[in-house]
Each structure stands twice: as structure tokens, then as C-alpha cells.
Amino acid sequence: MARIFAYIAHKGGVADDSAAELAAAAKKIDAGASPVAVVTGWGPDLDAVCEGLRSSYSEIWKVANQAIAYPNAELVRQALVNVIPRDSIVLVPHSHFGIDLAPGLSIKTNSAFVSDVLAIDGTDGTSLKVVRQEFGGQVSAHVRCDISSGAIISIRPGAFKPVESSPLAGVMVDKSAEVGALTAARRYLETIVAEAGDVDITKQNVLVSVGRGIQEQDNIAIAQELADALGGAVSCSRPVVDAKWLPKSRQVGSSGQTVKPKVYLACGMSGSFQHLAGIKGNPFIVAINKNPKAPIFQVADVGVVADILEFLPELTEKVREVKGISV
């Protein structure tokens, strides 16, 4: 069985949640595997991340190079090609970075590539069996990948629950010397942070969507707090825009935006046909409405019969607790 490597994304000296998810995914490929965490970067932040990984990974390869202080996928790819042995399995989170890095990495390492994997059904000889989704999530597919000369697998964030286990005593290996010369025809300039008003609901994974049940413009703050806690955004149905409580850019529906979140909370919405037409990709729909006969309950996955003005603040509080967010 080939060695499994997990590419660890990090920011501000802290590893991304995907680190634990990749470890869990590795176990699904090979229950007895001890995946190696590969961390690229530079300086004290990189050191801090590597330190922090010692409890969850048995081996951590630190790949330090000033050129990849900012994770420019073009340069990181070159570094990984030089550092990671051939025929390995490399797990990458299916994020904006993973999308940038992984396909090219598979070509340069002459290994197979499967993207956005939701579940792993183990191996069968030299075939790895995984589950993916197609058509914006409307169908699932079983996929086989020939891993005889290695594979790059990008893992859907949130699909693999971190495995609880006793802390490991990870060994750190410094592979920086093997990086080699990094040349880039693509040079990072800067990151422009989005303005507060520039929320693009079509790109959100989590939407807290409000309908007329929110009753007043002031109550939208309740939804906003939940959205902040969940790391998503507030969207709405047309009546809310008509009443000018939210701008048009927040409207989901046939004459508004089309959204493809993973989770959609329909709060105080009846679930009109025109509104639902704006939701694509079969997200997990939670309907919260005090009217048990609201049509939204026909289309939602789970429902809560409750007054959103009471329920949402409680939910927000619990979410913050779970995520360790202090207000």
C-alpha cells in the first residue's frame, strides 16, 4: 500500500479544519495507515502549524521556502513534486487552493486524480473506490481510481468527520532542503478583501434565508447573527426585497439569484415556487416555520415547527458554543 500524504492548509499559524478531515479520509483508504502531514510555508507561522499537528499526525513534513510563504499553487506544486515520493497517495482539500493545485500535481507526478470525493469505500486491489456527486449534487456516483502509480485525491470539506483518537506524538521531518529551485510564471500580488456590502450569496455554502416570517426589518439582525456564526450569509425571498429590508442582491428566486449552497435554512418562508426555483444543487434544506402546513416542509429535508424569532437566537447561541466562538 502506497504512503498517504495529507496536504495541510493553514492560516495565521493554525491548521485548517481540513487537516483532521484528511486524516479521517486517509483511514478510510487504509485503516492501518499513518498519513504524513505535508505543510508548506515559511517562518514562525509554519513552525506553529507543524507543532500543532503533532497530536493528530504521526509524521509531519515541514517544507519551508520563502517563495511559498504565500501559498501560490504554482510554486507549491513544484515543491511537492520534488519532496513527495512517486506512487504516493496525496490528499488535498477540495478548496479554491486544492482546485488550483491538485490537477497539475497529478500530471507532474504521473498519478491519477479524483476530485471532490465525498466518501471512500476502501480499496480493491489497485483500485480505490470512492463516491462523488454530479449534476450539482443531484446524483451520486461510485468511481474507481487506479492507484497503481499513485493518486491525488481532493476531499470535499466537511464530508469526512474527524476521528476521535488518543493524541499521537508526531515526528517532525524537515524536508525544506529537497524543495529545489522554484520558478513561477505566475506571481502573487495581493489579496483584496471583500467589502462588507459585497456579499455574493451565489457563492455561499451556508445560507440563512428569511421570508416574510421575519416580520420586521429589525429582526433580520437575528438571522445575520446566525449566519455569522455558521460562516454563511443572509439571503431572502422576494417579499423581503420588495419591502426594502434587504437589497436585491440577497434575493433567492427565479427573478433573483440562483444559489447552490450546501445548507439552506429557510426561516419563516412559505416556500413559493418562484423562490425555490432559485435553489439548485440539492442542498440540505432546513425549514423553520411556525406553520406546520407551510409548503416549504414538502421540499425541505428536515423541519422545525417553531417561531423563528425565538428559535434562531437559541440556535445561534448553540452554534457559537460548538464552534468555540466567543462574542
Binding site: P239, S254, S255, Q274
Partner: protein, 706 residues
């Protein structure tokens, strides 16, 4: 020695003989006028063709009704009456004007037919006419200058105020009247001072001037007489030449504009007159992109605008703050023509209109409700122009994103929602509905006399499907042998055409025409006024089409349909006229008769009803457009209903239903105001006891009972 006053023809003006002067001035004036007219006609010669020469009698009748009798003017009563007086006065005074010009050359000129007794009678009438016109001019000037009615205001984005132009013209008219009256009065005073009889019609302007001049020295009267004539002559030809320079061009063009006005209501002009559908591929560019793409008649429309503002005053888009003002669609185009086809200098042409004088949103904002065309006293057409401008934008690929989505769905699935064709009849399969009513699908195995054309929103929208079911149940109740096309029915394409996508419209139309013909039905019924309008006017060679309200009205009159009394006697109902049933097709009374046939039902009329109905916001593709507006049209309409004292709005159009129900929620009137479709109302109130104990079943054509 007694001497008569010297006439202008006999006199000398400085060094020029009157006769010569007053031969030259008219000649110069007419030459100038002719030159100006030629310059004005120039762009029309470059315009697209427009076939307006057929149906002479129908056109002449309209000239009588709208031009001569000024039929539309009283819709704004005070201004209308003023204008009727002005116009009638002008017509009467036109003979005097001719004779005045000729008198300058030949003293004894008399207009043929106006000699002797008739001439005397005319002289009396004309003096009163001049007086009334003068009073009207004064009132009009005060109205424009002091009271400034709102509809004349020019929003800042459209340029400077037009009041100065209006007052200037009123002043010119006043000068004409006063100078003519002084010309007469001075001669009469002159004669009176010499002891001769010179009676003028009492209380007329001339009469008043005469009395004011009775003690004026004869020499002064002579000079006044000659001076007044000169003033009149010069002002007359100056005014004539000024007419084509602004909104008073309508004085010249109105007769022609009314004569050539569009006769076929409800349909949109072809992409290019003279090019049949099959040959459209040869047309290089669709729609209006530059000024010269307009037809000559549309250009004439631009010239004929009297800047009265009645169109914009009634435009629902304008009322809710969308960037559309029909008046300025016309005025901006007129000013473009004036600028690019000047009296002197080169003609410029070819500038794209969208992005220069028009904005995209301005053109997409129109719901094609027709209120503007209904108001315009000059019968100026707007909808065809908006559609032509949209055709141009579509041709360039310049279509708002949300509309693109809907158009794409229409192309691939035949409905704007992207729903599957095979689900088009799913509304008939509702669990509670199906046992009560078995709706036939005319798929070749089934046949029927009547087609119920359902159209997209009724078939696919969860809320509006209720209208479909109510309609089917009622048709059953009155014994109608009907069926639906089901999956074979595509969207009628009514709004597709009006949004400028002519090619897609033709594809939908051709598909539906084939399906309808294949079904063998003898008539079509629909509950959707947009489909009704499309089948009646946009589609050709179709069996007769009726809206369900017309069917219901008839069935009630014959006693075949009986309605139960209302349950809640305190409800106050009002009927909202859908644009495409009311204004465009003039079906106003049938729906009202149906509602009024319900015993105990209280109904009130909104101020804006019938042909002044206020658009709910539009249907079809308009539901997918995201306008910039201050509020929704539906909200304004619901407020109108509340003001009229109603708490139930009855409508007869699925799109009106969507817009009004939305608006009820937005205005927070949920629970206090409801909306119900005419079919739903009848379905609720219909007595399911067979009339006279016998259920009437309409015979199937060709069957034994026929």
C-alpha cells in the same frame, strides 16, 4: 370729404407698395415653410417602410372621430375643453386667414363660397371664434405659467422646462387674434367716426376694440389698420414657419398622423413590413438600433407629439419611478431628428440610440400595458417602438441576465421556468381535483370541440394551477366539451414577442399553431388574457378565441349557469381590469356582468378602471425582469383598491393574481385584503344543481346528438 380707410393693398409701407409687400411676404413665407417641410421630411424618406394606405374608410372615420371631433380630448376635461375651443376656433378662422392674406394683394378677395349671406354669417361666427380662442389662450397661459399642472413638468434628466415654448406659442396666437381684431376694429372705428354703420358682433374682441378706439384720431386708426395687418401677416408666416420647429408641428401633422394611425390593435408590427417570416433570414439587422431604423410613420409620430404629458401621466412604470416616461421617448427622438437633420448643415446619422438618447432600463421597463396609447390624442404609437428597440438590443445580444435565463428555458423547454414538457398537464392530476373533473388531453386519441389553452404560468405555478382547475370545473359545469394540449402546448410566446425575441416567438407560435390545427378543435377558450391576445392577434388562421369571462357572461345570460349568493355580505369587491383583456381587447363588461350576477355581492369601481386601469406590473417575461423602481405597480394598485373601499380584488388574469397577491403581502394587508380570480370566484359560487333540473351537455360535433 369722407374717405374710407385705406386698405393695405392700396397703401404704401415706407417705400414699398402694400400690394407688392403682401405678395412678397406670403411667397417668402411659403417658400420658407416648404423648405422647412422638405428638411423635416428628409429622415422619413430614409425610414423603414410602413404600409398604411389600406382601409381608407376606416381611416377616414378615425380622422372624423379623433381629429375633427377631438374624441380623446375630454379625458382631461378642463384642458380638453380648452383645446377643443382652440382647435374649433382655428378651423373656423382658417378661412379668414386665407382671405386676410389675399386681401393684401386684392382688396375684393372673397373665399369661394363665403360670399353674400353666408359670408356675413361667417363674419359673425369668426369674430366670436376669435374671442373664444383668445380667452382660451389667456386661460391656457395662466394655467401653464401660474398653476403649472404636474404632467407638464420636465424631470431634470430630460433637460430644461418647456413652459417658455408653450407660452411663446400662446403669445403668437394671441398676437394673431389681437392683430386681426384690431385690423377690423380700426376700420370699424374709422367708419363709425365718419357716421357710417360698422357693426361688429357684440361682446366680441373686435367689438371691444372698436369701442376702445372710437375717440382715436383717424390718422392713428389708419396707421393702426395698416400696422395691424402687417403684424398679422408677418406673425402668421413666422408662426407657420415656427410650427415645424417644436411641439406645434402637430398642427400640421395631426391630420396625417391620425389618418395613418395603426388600425390593428393587439398585435405587434412585423420585424420589417414587406418581409414575410420565411424571408426574415435575409434581413441583416433586426429591430431599431439607429434613428433611421424607425419606420416613416414612427418618425411622423415623433413630430406629432404635442408634449401634453397625458401618456406619462397614465404610465404605470412612470408612476412607480422606473426610468421610463413615454412622453420623453417621443420628445427625445424628436429632438434627435431636429439635431441630426438640421435646417442648415450636414445630416448626421447612424448613432446607436441605446446608450445615447435611451437607456436599456428605460426600454425594458415598459409592461406594454397600452395606457399611453389609450390616452394620446394624436394616436401616437408606443408599443411597436419599444418592441422594435428591444428587437435591436436582442439582436446585439444585449439582454438582462434574468431575462436570458427565462428565454433559454423557453427555447429548450417551451416555458420560462425550465419545467419539463411532460409535466405540463400535472395540474390536472391534483388528488382532490382529479375525481371531480377529468380533463381530456387532445393527443390524437381524444378529440374535442373546444381547446382550453392553459399556457405556462397556469400549468406550472403551484398557486396559479388553482385557476386552471377552477376553469376546468366551470367548463365542465356548463357542459363544454373541451380538452387541453398537455405536453404539446408550448408557451404562447406573447411576451417573448414583446420582449423583442421575434425568432423564438415564431418558433413557439408555429409549434402551437400546428398542435392546435392537429387537434381539430373548433374554438379556443383561455383564462389567460396574454394567451388570449396572442391567439387572437399574434397568431393567424386560428379558430375563434374567447376569454373565459366571455363564456361565463353568456352562460349566465342564457341561464345555464346559476350562482349562489355570497356568504359574507360585508365583503366589498372590486374588479381590476387586466390590461390584455380590458384595454387591448376592450372586454370590460363581461367580467363585471359575471360578478354582478352573484346575488348579494357588493361591488365598487376603482377610480382607474376600464380603459384607465392601472397595470399590475406585467406578465410573462416581465415577471423575470428586475426593474429599478420606487415601489411595485401591484402595491399601488392594491392601495387603489383599499381607497375605493374594497377588501376583495377580483381579477381575470393569472399574472395580475401573482402581482396583486405579492403586493397584498408587501403592504402588510394580508388578512385584510384578498385577491380572487374570476374563475375561482365563479367556481366557489356556482350552483352545482343542474339548471332547471336538467344538465345541459353540449353536443360533440359529428356525434348523434348534434
Amino acid at each position: 370729404m369722407l374717405e374710407g380707410i385705406h386698405s393695405p393693398a392700396q397703401s404704401t409701407y415706407w417705400i414699398v407698395s402694400g400690394r407688392l409687400l403682401f405678395a412678397i411676404i406670403p411667397l417668402l413665407g411659403m417658400a420658407c415653410f416648404a423648405f422647412i417641410l422638405l428638411k423635416r421630411i428628409a429622415p422619413l424618406l430614409r425610414g423603414a417602410p410602413d404600409f398604411r394606405l389600406t382601409q381608407m374608410w376606416a381611416r377616414l372615420t378615425r380622422v372624423l372621430k379623433f381629429w375633427l371631433v377631438q374624441w380623446k380630448q375630454p379625458r382631461y376635461l378642463f384642458a380638453g375643453l380648452l383645446h377643443i375651443v382652440l382647435f374649433a376656433g382655428f378651423l373656423v378662422l382658417s378661412f379668414r386667414s386665407i382671405s386676410l392674406v389675399m386681401i393684401g394683394i386684392s382688396d375684393h378677395f372673397v373665399v369661394p363660397g363665403l360670399s353674400g349671406g353666408i359670408g356675413d354669417f361667417y363674419n359673425v361666427v369668426k369674430d366670436y371664434a376669435a374671442t373664444l380662442v383668445f380667452l382660451s389662450v389667456v386661460i391656457a397661459a395662466i394655467r401653464r405659467g401660474v398653476f403649472r399642472p404636474a404632467r407638464y413638468a420636465v424631470p431634470s434628466e430630460y433637460g430644461k422646462d418647456h413652459t417658455a415654448e408653450a407660452i411663446f406659442v400662446l403669445a403668437l396666437i394671441a398676437i394673431l387674434l389681437v392683430s386681426e381684431s384690431l385690423f377690423e376694429a380700426s376700420a370699424a372705428a374709422f367708419q363709425t367716426q365718419q357716421g357710417l354703420v360698422a357693426a361688429l358682433p357684440p361682446l366680441s374682441l373686435a367689438w371691444a376694440f372698436k369701442y376702445a378706439l372710437l375717440s382715436t384720431p383717424l390718422e392713428w386708426l389708419q396707421n393702426l389698420h395698416l400696422g395691424a395687418y402687417l403684424a398679422h401677416e408677418v406673425t402668421f408666416f413666422a408662426f407657420l414657419c415656427f410650427l415645424p420647429m417644436g411641439k406645434h408641428f402637430h398642427v400640421v401633422t395631426s391630420l396625417f398622423n391620425v389618418y395613418f394611425a395603426k388600425l390593428d390593435r393587439g398585435t405587434i408590427k412585423p420585424v420589417r413590413w414587406g418581409v414575410s417570416d420565411e424571408h426574415l433570414d435575409q434581413v441583416k439587422s433586426f429591430g431599431v438600433k439607429t434613428f433611421e431604423d424607425f419606420t416613416w410613420k414612427h418618425m411622423l409620430d415623433f413630430y406629432s407629439c404635442a408634449d401634453c404629458g397625458r401618456c406619462s401621466d397614465n404610465c404605470p412604470a412612470n408612476a412607480v419611478g422606473r426610468p421610463l416616461s413615454p412622453r420623453f421617448i417621443t420628445i427625445k427622438a424628436r429632438d434627435y431628428a431636429f439635431q441630426h437633420y438640421p435646417m442648415f448643415g450636414k445630416t448626421g446619422n447612424g448613432t446607436p440610440l441605446i446608450g445615447s438618447i435611451y437607456s436599456e432600463d428605460e426600454i425594458w421597463s415598459c409592461t406594454t400595458c397600452g395606457a399611453c396609447e389609450e390616452e394620446c390624442p394624436l394616436l401616437i404609437e408606443y408599443i411597436d417602438k419599444i418592441v422594435d428597440l428591444r428587437r435591436g438590443m436582442v439582436d446585439d445580444g444585449n439582454v438582462p441576465k434574468s431575462i436570458q435565463k427565462a428565454l433559454k428555458a423557453l427555447e429548450s423547454r417551451g416555458n420560462p421556468y425550465g419545467k419539463m414538457e411532460k409535466k405540463k398537464a400535472d395540474w390536472t392530476k391534483d388528488k382532490e381535483f382529479q375525481p371531480t373533473c377529468d380533463v381530456k388531453i387532445l393527443d390524437g386519441k381524444n378529440t374535442a370541440d373546444t381547446l382550453y389553452f392553459v399556457d405556462s404560468i397556469t400549468a406550472y405555478d403551484d398557486r396559479i394551477q388553482a385557476i386552471g382547475r377552477a376553469t376546468a370545473r366551470i367548463l365542465d359545469q356548463v357542459g363544454e366539451n373541451f380538452g387541453i394540449l398537455g405536453a404539446a402546448e408550448k408557451d404562447s410566446g406573447h411576451e417573448v414577442r414583446r420582449f423583442g425575441e421575434e425568432t423564438l416567438f415564431m418558433a413557439l407560435r408555429d409549434h402551437n399553431v400546428e398542435a392546435i390545427k392537429a387537434s381539430g378543435v373548433q374554438r379556443i377558450v383561455t383564462a389567460d388574457p396574454h394567451a388570449y391576445n396572442a391567439l387572437k392577434h399574434d397568431y393567424k388562421d386560428m379558430p375563434p378565441v374567447e376569454h373565459i369571462s366571455q363564456v361565463l357572461a353568456r352562460e349566465i345570460k342564457t341561464g345555464n349557469l346559476k350562482l349562489n349568493p355570497v356568504e359574507n355580505a360585508n365583503d366589498v369587491y372590486t374588479y381590476h381590469d387586466p390590461c390584455y383583456l380590458g384595454r387591448h381587447n376592450q372586454v370590460y363588461d363581461d367580467p363585471r356582468d359575471v360578478i354582478d350576477a352573484i346575488p348579494g355581492l357588493k361591488r365598487v369601481e376603482m377610480g382607474r378602471c376600464r380603459d384607465r386601469s392601472f397595470c399590475c406590473g406585467g406578465g410573462g417575461l416581465m415577471l423575470f425582469y428586475e426593474p429599478k423602481e420606487d415601489q411595485r405597480m401591484g402595491v399601488k394598485r392594491v392601495q387603489m383598491a383599499a381607497e375605493a373601499g374594497a377588501n376583495v380584488i377580483v381579477t381575470a388574469c393569472p399574472f395580475c393574481m401573482v402581482n396583486i397577491e405579492d403586493a397584498i403581502k408587501v403592504t402588510g394587508l394580508e388578512g385584510k385584503m384578498t385577491a380572487i380570480d374570476l374563475t375561482e370566484l365563479v367556481d366557489r359560487q356556482v350552483s352545482r344543481e343542474p339548471a332547471n333540473g336538467v344538465k345541459i351537455v353540449k353536443p360533440v360535433a359529428g356525434s348523434a346528438t348534434a
